[in-house]
Amino acid sequence: MSDVLLRSDHLCRAFGGVVAVDDVSISVQRGELLGLIGPNGAGKTTIIRLLTGIQRPDSGKVFIGPDDVTRLSTDRRVRRGLALTHQIVQPLHGLSVLENVALAAGQAATRSAIASLFHYGRGREVDAANVILTRLDMLAYAGNMPDTLPLGYLKRLEMARALALNPDVLLLDEPLAGLNQRESAILADLIIALNADGLTIVLVEHNLAEVLRVATRLLVLDAGRVIADGSPSEVVRRPEVRDAYIGQGASNA
């Protein structure tokens, strides 16, 4: 079965004179774990932001399944099955960890602002949030406010909220950045496990070792363009990829 859950069609976006994303067409197949890598400034985060509607493209289109969602706002795309974690964590301060996750689990209750007036009970959503927090080993911190938690936990909170949306496609923007080796490995294992459960994942990541370990397909970006697309082991051997990305990494190491 190879149906496309998420697709971009000739996306372009410039900031001032700088072209961040240049004619990018990618498609995300059901069940895959697509790694998106590239040097700094390659346009990885911008692509994620264009796909989720946080930013709008100058030209090009975004499709969720068969539907053109280019003009839909982020919240509408989320309700059509996308979920996103931010590179820079964005916990909702003033809401407890549990409330952060329960809010995401309460899609039905918050669908319409007017209808939300008549939704009071939170039992079901809190149960769902507890299940997810348990899986992410965060249940002990359910009552905490986000500003009392270290970065590693806030990264997991991002993940917990995204999972609570029960998405078809999960877009992870550098979930491992800022984590130590042990935390990275734990989170990467979780990403593999989620994918094994059937969740389709797009992973933007700098930590090349982890990406090569977890991804089932790899896209390499450079200067806003896709320069390689294929299986991770095959892609990293290509000379243009080495020039653009691995070469730099190797010279830094």
Binding site: I54, D75, V78, L92, T110, I114, H119, Y120
Partner: protein, 282 residues
Amino acid sequence: MTGYHLSLISLTGIMIVFAVSLNMIMGLCGQVSLGHAAFYGVGAYVTAMMSAGGVPTLYALPVGMLIAGLMGLIVGFASLRVRDDFLAITTLAVGFLFVGVVRKSRALGGEFGISGIPESGLGPAGDAFLVAFCVVLTVALSVYLSRNWTGLAFRSISANEEAAQTLGINSAHYKLLAFCIGCALAGLAGGLYANYARFIVPGTFGFSLSITAAAMVVIGGIGSTAGVVAGAVLLTLFPEIFRFLGDYRMLVYGALLVGVMLFQPKGLAGIPSMVRRWAGPR
């Protein structure tokens, strides 16, 4: 109880409704509004005109609410375009615009306002009861809204609008809802005021009233219904208690506002937990 006390209680009740209505926009949903007096004014003028035209107060009040709520919806659209400081300036302008238009409007009595608003026919005690009833209703709605799903969505927008959107929250709709409900209740407070004062002039609904309401919310504790009620009571009775300060009252007001923001950002609502911290075991 003398007439003075009864009238003071009514006035306090009206200000509670007004301050709590602003807190729904500013406290729960995190949208700054510095022109809230305009909606209080809309409610007051609609109720006054209708009462003067022979409509019973109890029918005029909901109409005032409705129209103020619709006006709030329109201004709410501004909150979709601008945020924070810019929203503050936009709402400020709405406040000035309201007073400016009313001052020049012959139909609304211009500078002289509307006088001789007929009595509601409920009697002094009945009027006070009506205010008390509206206070209970408003406070109950505010508490409900801060605990139900609407309130949770409001708080998420207040915390981080972009993050709220990535959780599927249509922030535009929720912000419009907050403005609509908050302004409708401000209209209710204004209608009650027209019925209470039986004489209204445009100057009443200006900048200083908007700032007073904002001060009640901030000093009471942004987002806390109980705190804002306490803030409204304190600041309504404050001018009565500190009458001897004369014109220096506004100065003390300002100092209080700055002091609270610097030293007690949670306002009066933060005092119980502060006391618990001090008194509790270490």
